[in-house]
Amino acid sequence: MATPSIELIHEVEQFLYREARLLDAEQFEAWLEMLTEDIHYWMPSIQNRYRRDKSPAYTQNSMALFDEDMKSLQLRIKRFNTGVAWPEDPPTRHCHVITNIEVALTDKPDEYRVYSAFVNHRSRTEQDEDMLIGRREDILRRTDGALKLARRKIITTQSTILSKNLSVFL
């Protein structure tokens, strides 16, 4: 497989940084615009299993923390925008740090596989503090000239989420 051009890598990086900034700023409608209509946004729940165990730590059909399509993501944004989503009022302060970005070409000319790592730090009210760290595996698709997110798999380092909620997109 050919290696991606510097221009493509730069474009992908800017895409992911922009996405992170929109999420930090709660610009969710603009964020939804960055996703394809057939988006699959997935964060499986991890089971601790011994190395000798042939069963995987997660499957497509096992319990997940997010397993979303465009409709369910829109529903989440709708909930947030009702003005009565109490756990987001006063607002949470988010910072998404995106790093370790790798771009690979795929056998589809308009799709790229993108690996990245993230740190999501959030704090709200006086002292609430949560940190999620993990990796993402994305498929970005070029649609009408612009990149869009078509698939995202999120794996955090935690098997028990050490937070009272996941009121966050990663």
């Binding site: 964060m43 499986p44 729940s45 089971q47 601790n48 299993r49 011994y50 165990d53 069963s55 997660y58 499957t59 059909n61 096992s62 319990m63 997940a64 923390l65 997010f66 397993d67 979303e68 369910s72 529903l75 989440r76 709708k78 909930r79 947030f80 009702t82 003005g83 009565v84 989503a85 109490w86 756990p87 098997s159 028990t160 989420i161 050490l162 937070s163 009272k164 909620n165 996941l166 009121s167």
Partner: protein, 436 residues
């Protein structure tokens, strides 16, 4: 200075005036007593049978703060035993689930069968030099185990009543989850866990009977899902308590499961006549209603959404939520997957409804750090004067799903167990007999 004796625990629960002393939500000594008096004595949910179908299958969980292994033995039975080596105390299993012929301690290589018995150890010959050494005395401590329509329960109390008596009239209601189809039920593979810094009793009482919070706490999610905040109908709903367990539900025939997906809606419509034949009209019209359920002390679920969870106590101000999704074994795969997604999207750490709960419970717990704050009792008098509910429902039934009657029944059970020296001393508060 010695600390004052916290007993009797009945002083913290006033059934007549309807208040609870906040001490029970933050006091470390009371929490330690709960581990002894409640978690080491009650029947606790440990697994669904479907999670360990084959011989050697196991999962690990907790009974109170005691780590246990739930294991399918060679003889097909289920063993539940402590996950702690009797040699130095180390855990003998670190996986959440799997299949194993034996559990081997990493420290000195002591190995245990899937019935908990000690099989052998590293350099065993040294022990054998002592003629008094008896391997059979050093196994993993087993709990009593009983299975109820697929749900596996265990208790460490020899004097506890059998599971059927422990459930009482609650069992009649459980059929609405566990026995709507001849094929029985199963858990979707895997589970979800997260930590909430709250006392375990806040989520437990919430599921016992708090339909009141739904319309306000979950206003945003209700509007997004259904277009309007949830509105309870006090005239077509009830709270039921039996043996300290709680079930609140509507019975106007409304079915909210269709919110999950069209496939779920089609499935429940198609199932309805068979359920009516199987369980009768009283229960059939409750299926799919807005409802919440808690089995004392820390096992809860939501009919209609099918999320099942255990509130694992981790200290007076820390609870781990372990959640699964229940489906009928015979349901089409598409329906099982949609129920899995519906449960996760509404009730999980990322759930559009559950997301709202954690902060309330954390804040209600944390507030008690204030010494003046904690002097004020919490008011649990809502719908105290409610009439008895429909007579064709077993258990102690009160009209209206918004109220504190179930919650108070839970705290009465809590106080009864906390003060009782043995199970024979625990009063039976149910006057109505369980329906067969």
């Amino acid at each position: 200075m010695t600390k004052p004796d916290p007993r009797p625990y009945s002083q913290y629960v006033n059934m007549q005036e309807g208040w609870i002393d906040r001490r029970i939500f933050h006091d470390r000594d009371i929490y330690e007593a709960e581990l002894e008096q409640i978690f080491a004595r009650c029947w606790l949910f440990v697994a669904h049978e479907s999670q360990i179908p084959a011989a050697g299958d196991f999962l690990t969980t907790y009974m109170g703060e005691d780590a246990v292994i739930v294991s399918r033995r060679k003889d097909g039975g289920i063993g539940v035993f402590l996950n702690s080596c009797p040699h130095r105390g180390n855990r003998v299993c670190f996986a959440d689930a799997g299949n194993a012929r034996q559990f081997v301690c990493n420290y000195h290589g002591w190995s245990f069968g899937n019935d908990g018995s000690l099989l052998g150890m590293h350099e065993e010959y040294v022990y054998k030099e002592d003629p008094a050494f008896d391997k059979s005395k050093h196994g993993l401590v087993n709990a009593r185990v009983e299975v109820w329509k697929g749900l596996v329960f265990a208790t460490f109390a020899d004097d506890a009543p059998g599971l059927k008596d422990y459930l009482g009239a609650f069992a009649w209601y459980l059929d609405m989850m566990l026995d709507t189809d001849e094929g029985g039920t199963e858990f979707v593979p895997g589970g979800v866990r997260n930590i909430v810094n709250c006392n375990w009793k806040f989520p437990a009482e919430n599921f016992h009977g708090d339909a009141y919070h739904v319309g306000w706490t979950h206003m945003a999610g209700s509007i997004a899902y259904g277009g309007a905040p949830f509105k309870a109908d006090q005239n077509a709903s009830f709270q039921m308590t039996a043996q300290g367990h709680g079930w609140e539900s509507g019975y106007d025939g409304a079915d909210m499961r269709g919110l999950g997906s069209q496939a779920i809606a089609r499935y429940v419509t198609q199932q309805r006549p068979a359920i009516e034949r199987r369980l009768g009209p009283e229960r059939a019209k409750m299926i799919g209603a807005i409802a919440s359920v808690s089995m004392f002390p820390n096992f809860s679920f939501l009919p209609g959404i099918n999320t099942f969870r255990v509130w694992q106590p981790k200290g007076p101000d820390k609870t781990e939520i372990w959640a699964w999704a229940l489906v009928n074994k015979n349901a089409p795969d598409e329906v099982k997957q949609d129920i899995r997604r519906f449960a996760m999207r509404s009730f999980s750490p990322s759930g559009m409804l559950e997301m709202d709960d954690g902060e309330n419970w954390e804040s209600a717990t944390r507030a008690n750090k204030g010494v003046v704050t904690r002097r004020q009792k919490l008011f649990y008098g809502m719908n105290r004067l409610a009439a008895n509910g429909p007579p064709n429902y077993p258990g102690r039934v009160r009209q209206g799903q918004m109220g504190d009657n179930n919650q108070m029944a839970m705290y009465q059970r809590w106080a009864d167990l906390m003060d009782a020296k043995c199970w024979a001393d625990v009063p039976n508060r149910d006057t109505q007999k369980a329906a067969e």
